[in-house]
């Protein structure tokens, strides 16, 4: 399975989402990291 953070333009995605949601890039990245950890944790079980 290919994940978004493996894309070379992942940083662009973070900045687009941050601008649209009016959040810092760091918050978006942290949210993504937590979400992806939960998803990959679930699939690995």
């Amino acid at each position: 399975m290919s994940l978004v953070h493996e894309d070379p333009e992942f940083d662009d995605v973070l900045r687009i989402v941050a601008a649209n949601r009016r959040l810092t890039r760091g918050l978006v990245e942290k949210d993504y990291t937590l979400a992806i950890s939960a998803v990959t944790g679930m699939t690995s079980r």
């Binding site: 662009d12 687009i16 941050a18 601008a19 009016r22 959040l23 810092t24 890039r25 760091g26 918050l27």
Partner: protein, 290 residues
């Protein structure tokens, strides 16, 4: 040229209050006609002209928005100055010098100040307004515009550093705060809503392009090493949500495995830390050695 002829041929004499002299100024009728001609030439750049021009005083002129309407009013006035410009307004058969709109080469992802657009236009604010209306520039704040970079996912906003570079006029600055502190691996995990920026020009909270920046005028190295961020984190332990004692323990463990350069850490502490932080750093270094 028609404009000059009109203004000069129909100048009126106006007494200067308090002096014996008089001055020649363009008549109100000339100004109204010139404003209308300007509007007819570039209506997309002159949306307010019928509101700001002297024509506001006349209900009939205020409602005029078409060539035919202008011509009707001019014909009704029957003045020699209007007759001079009628062929242009009605048939556009006068020779006029029309400059093509400038097409500046803007770098995607770069942030521009209005004055930088002066390289392509004698009137940078007007050029900026046109480029915003065509979508070539995106306004970030007053006098600050970004040329968006296109990606597969859409228009990408500019980097924080690029916004700050333009906003602070190419003066030195450093972006610090939660992202840099958390990356040190000393136990800080909190994330701030706004970036902390040390600089030499501005202080306060600023929102640029929808992003919040907390600007502070404090001393900082122009190219800060990682050890400087350690000192910065220790100085802001309460904001980072970590106890100073916990940070000292983590720093001690990191130093023991050679994570940071001791000499550089001491140098940064001597230059940028308070007395209490210097003592904390010395204590961490001593614990790491023993």
């Amino acid at each position: 040229m028609i404009g000059f002829d009109l203004a000069l041929d129909h100048a009126v004499t106006v007494p200067v209050p308090g002096f014996a002299q008089t001055a020649y100024v363009a008549s109100l009728a000339s100004l109204v006609v010139l404003k209308m001609v300007a509007w007819v030439e570039r209506p997309y750049e002159r949306k307010k002209i019928l509101v700001t021009s002297p024509s506001c005083s006349s209900k009939r002129l205020r409602s005029t928005t078409t060539d035919g309407g202008i011509a009707r009013i001019l014909l009704e006035r029957r003045s020699s100055s209007t007759i001079n410009v009628l062929p242009y307004l009605l048939f556009r058969n006068k020779r006029t010098v029309m400059t093509a709109p400038s097409k500046p080469v803007l770098e995607p992802g770069r942030v521009y100040r209005t004055r930088e657009l002066g390289a392509w236009s004698a009137n940078p604010p007007r050029l900026a307004k046109r480029l915003v209306s065509t979508g070539e520039l995106v306004p970030l704040a007053h006098g600050l515009f970004a040329r968006p970079k296109q990606s597969r996912f859409g228009a990408v906003p500019p980097h924080d550093e690029e916004i700050l570079r333009a906003f602070l006029g190419d003066t030195p600055f450093v972006v610090t705060g939660s992202e840099r502190w958390n990356a040190l691996g000393l136990g800080a995990t909190a994330v701030f809503a706004s970036a902390l920026v040390y600089n030499q020009k501005r202080s306060g909270q600023f929102v640029l392009g929808g992003r919040s920046f907390n600007l502070r005028r404090v001393a900082f190295p122009e190219t800060p090493p990682e050890e400087w961020f350690v000192i910065d984190l220790l100085e802001h332990a309460d904001q980072a949500g970590v106890a100073r004692s916990e940070l000292a323990s983590s720093l001690s463990r990191a130093l023991a495995v050679g994570r940071f350069d001791r000499d550089r850490l001491r140098k940064m502490a001597d230059r940028y830390a308070t007395k209490a932080t210097r003592a904390l750093v010395e204590s961490a270094m001593a614990t790491a050695t023993s």
